[in-house]
């Protein structure tokens, strides 16, 4: 895929009309003004009220939806449990990209983090009491190297009590181990010459997979390869980690032992690798769901964890469906759905019945 700079440069070929005669003959009408200070303050106060209400709502729903006490962790495979709130990022709004929560049936949508809170790659802890996410540590204007620095953070499920675990220019995709003691993530942290890049599906952003204790200690590198590896996800029994590797224009879902050995491919092709969740394990660990481009459309596909039996479960013409997440009880798959026509509605959340 051509890089963004090249694509934008191509617009230099668009002929522009000569308007100087119109400029000198027209009667100016005026420039729209920015909202005044009073309006900005009012909007901010209203946003805070909404966030506070959403947090309270989220705590009740998470507590009611979990089948296990919040303090209990399990080294065993996670049994299917009740479906709870789905967190997702809204990227089509006029004022930014807030993080919202919604019930699996589409009801009760609430904003959890406002548009000014930089959040990416939200991952629930196995017991549903915490989230890990990518947040901003230092803006480019404040950092010595002029680049924004990001970090893996852990917070309570309502966003309170945030703790920074890591820092780097390309930190991404935290994933909890099933027993909640470790977090895998992707990063370019061992090569300080790598600048901020488009992590995920971009061959020039050479991220590797790392794992650390859930308190941020004992960071260990699992992959060491010039190709980008990212979006790690633990298998439900904790024995393996699946991830995406980008080779040229191809994204490959691979799986390795939890110690980084025995890497083997599961599925490859035009897999959507750049989203929040390129793929998702089924709750019992036997299958993986992912989105893939096929001639003429996009398909949601399922493959067995040993790489066999790949098949399509859902497709829709004129729509890009990505970011699948398997529900905890295995009955549903949530995904994002984006019409390709520019005048269509923005991205929508959808849910499909799992086969």
């Amino acid at each position: 895929m051509a890089d963004l700079k090249t694509r934008f440069r191509g617009a230099d070929g668009i002929p522009a009309p000569h308007l100087w005669a119109d400029i000198t003959s027209r009667e100016p009408r005026g420039v729209p003004s920015e909202p005044g200070p009073a309006r900005k303050i009012l909007v901010a106060a209203f946003a805070m009220v909404i966030v506070a209400a959403a947090i309270a709502f989220a705590i009740r729903a998470i507590g009611g939806g979990s089948s296990r006490p919040a303090s209990e962790t399990s080294p065993q495979p996670i049994a299917p449990k009740a479906n709870g709130l789905i967190y997702f990022q809204v990227s089509g709004g006029k004022d930014g990209s807030p993080t919202d929560a919604i019930q699996p049936d589409g009801s009760g949508r609430q904003e959890v983090f406002g548009p000014d809170k930089y959040i990416l790659h939200v991952a629930w802890s196995p017991d549903g009491t915490q989230i890990a996410y990518v947040g901003i540590v230092q803006y480019g204007k404040d950092s010595p190297d002029g680049q924004a620095h990001f970090g893996i953070f852990v917070a309570n499920a309502d966003g309170s009590g945030a703790r920074q675990l890591t820092e780097g220019v390309n930190e991404g995709w935290p994933s909890w181990s099933p027993d909640g003691t470790q977090i895998a993530f992707s990063s370019t942290r061992t090569d300080p010459t790598v600048r901020e890049c488009i992590s995920g599906g971009h061959a020039s952003c050479p991220t590797d997979i790392y794992v650390m204790n859930a308190d941020g200690s004992n960071i260990t590198r699992l992959t060491d390869d010039p190709a980008p590896e990212y979006a790690p996800a633990w298998s439900p029994d904790g024995s393996r980690i699946a991830f995406v590797r980008t080779v040229g224009d191809t994204n490959v879902i691979e799986v390795m032992e939890a110690d980084g050995k025995g890497v083997a491919p599961i599925a490859s092709g035009t897999i959507a690798g750049a989203g929040e969740h390129p793929f998702s394990w089924s709750p019992e660990g036997s299958q993986i769901v992912f989105a893939s481009r096929v001639p003429g459309s996009w398909e949601m596909r399922v493959v067995k964890a040993d790489g066999t039996g790949e098949h399509m479960i859902f497709t829709e013409d004129g729509v890009v469906s990505t970011d699948p997440i398997w529900s905890p009880d295995g009955s549903l798959i949530a995904f994002s759905s984006t019409p390709t026509r520019p005048d269509a509605d923005q991205t929508q959340m959808s849910a499909a019945i799992c086969p």
Binding site: L4, F8, R29
Partner: protein
Amino acid sequence: MAGLEDMYEEHGGKLWRALFLYAGDREITSEALAEAFAQALRRGDELRSPERWVWRSAFRIAGGRALETTAREDEILDTRYEVPEETTQLLLALPQLTRKQRVALVLHYFCDYSLREVAEITGSTPSAVGVHLHRGRKRLRELLLGDDDG
């Protein structure tokens, strides 16, 4: 006036294309550019940095008009004879981004403005521009990957 006319001859075409990338509509683009320059002419020496003022005003005018309408797909597709296919894909994808993401991407990638300069033009902060750029790139990546042939 001679200074503004020289500025128009030197930068008018680039500004028009940048506004078209942002608004996706020829009428809005031409109106915003002409209005911004006409306002600058009326203000004369009152403007300390006419170039920056014109760019900022033009994007604000285009942003206000663009709120009332949607990008013209037919006009975007009309450009496909003048630009590479990969740029047509970009033009079709841009309207699906937020206005703030679009203006940050256009000024940074098409016009080579730094984050600080983008912030000055848009009346924002470099850090906020950085966030819009990051999210806009991510969104574009998703959309453009969707336009690639399998």
